[in-house]
Symmetry: C3
Subunit: 135 residues, 3 copies
């Protein structure tokens, strides 16, 4: 049994993709998990977790710009807090990602990085990481 790990993430903008891959790799090393799965879970309703390319920062910008074009910040939304766009993007991207662990390593594709999506920043957030350990 492994307990929940908490990651603190600070954003600087309204919309942002923040690379959390190194923090996740650190948890896998620290816990000495040989085999299993890692769940990254976002408990905030205006944020999300997504996996995408981490090499060229333009990919992040293209994802954020396209999300903004599809679901604009200002629109005929009913929710009074002014962050409906972020709620919608949270459901489109999804609340979590599951990644395989083998031989004490996170098994990501060559270009894959794990990102925290902030839709209603700037904010300080806490997300959860929990591991399924295999015997």
């Amino acid at each position: 049994m492994t307990s929940i790990k908490k990651l603190q993430i600070s954003s600087l903008k309204k919309q942002e993709l923040i690379d959390i891959t190194n923090q996740l790799k650190h948890i896998v090393k620290e816990e000495s998990i040989k085999q299993g799965f890692l769940l990254v879970y976002n408990p905030h309703t205006t944020a999300a977790i997504t996996i995408n390319e981490g090499a060229d920062p333009d990919v992040k910008k293209d994802i954020l710009n396209t999300l903004l074009a599809l679901v604009p910040n200002k629109g005929s939304y009913l929710h009074a807090e002014g962050n409906s766009d972020a709620h919608i993007k949270s459901s489109i991207l999804g609340s979590s990602e599951m990644v395989i662990i083998e031989d004490n390593e996170l098994i990501l594709g060559t270009w894959q990085h794990v990102f925290f999506f902030e839709g209603d920043g700037p904010r300080n957030r806490t997300i959860y990481v929990k591991i399924i350990k295999e015997l």
Copy 2:
């Protein structure tokens, strides 16, 4: 080993988000699961599972209205059953959600509720819940 639990869900409209959080919490209590994960799985190709804000019902409406604006009910679709929009929304929102269980409680964020998305209602549906129990 825990068996599959089935939840019955009835919708009243073509498109609807139905809060299933209490049913999920009830399953966790009933099964006395101390630690683990809960998978909510939707087996229908015009429905989905998503996690979002449950406090203000306007958030649900904004999500549904925006999905409808992006993927209209009527369009130049090829599929003859007239529910292509619901199939597409099913893939955008996703077929399942995984939630952490700790100390016999479902670990959701303060504002997070789990929703069943119906895209081709009104209908009676059955969805699956299965728990990964940790020792």
Copy 3:
């Protein structure tokens, strides 16, 4: 403990949904998994995994056409490789799907098939399958 299985997938077009359900069922049979979960994981940043209807091939076409209308191949993207649309669709559809296994069978809905989404083909790809075996 079950090791990672690798599936080889070849696409013929720029955008394609390729049914991988039979390969997944074969893995479950071959491994004699009684109870548990199967994770299908895509390690490519211009591809994805999604679950949808497999009976009428028009559903696949409607999904692909709508994704193309929402996120066009050509646009004012910054990323120089010309495949930003595929990166964005990868995050919209998601990098993996988790499916329940019971009595040595994959528990899918009547109309559900599991698809590999290629967004930047034609290509030869490898995806990962890993099983959580329950005692």
